[in-house]
Chain length 80, copies 2
């Protein structure tokens, strides 16, 4: 069966979010009262699996191997 | 008051998602039965506003002016 899972990858606390900082400064320059911007990378993945748990398990493994850097990023995998 | 809003920016249908394609190919090479990967850019924004609606309104405007490219991207702003 085909499952759609969503991987949400965020920077860990304390890791500098350069893109977020740049967006914040740009929004401030345009006059918006923005206090903080953080960026999140999301992958929406369609894959073949026997069950939702198997799909999440496979993509969790894929995050460790390829998609996320566990030194600086947290990730969460959910079935949609 | 301070509000946290989330902006979710996706590519429109028919626009080629180069990063998603690359991730899909890499996952296939690692043996995962992935059929499609699409990438989504999320900004989590903290800002000062009088109400949730004002916060969403301001960030919707900011999307049009700066954050999203309406020719190729769809975006959605929600209060968290």
């Amino acid at each position: 069966m085909s499952y759609t899972v969503e991987v949400r990858i965020e920077l860990k606390k304390g890791v500098i979010d350069a893109e977020g900082e740049t967006v914040k400064k740009s929004l401030n320059l345009l006059g918006y009262r923005v206090e903080d911007v953080s960026t999140v990378r999301v992958y929406v993945i369609e894959l073949e699996a026997e069950s939702g748990e198997e799909a999440v398990g496979e993509i969790n493994e894929a995050c460790k191997r390829l998609l996320a850097n566990p030194v600086i990023q947290n990730y969460r995998v959910t079935v949609k």
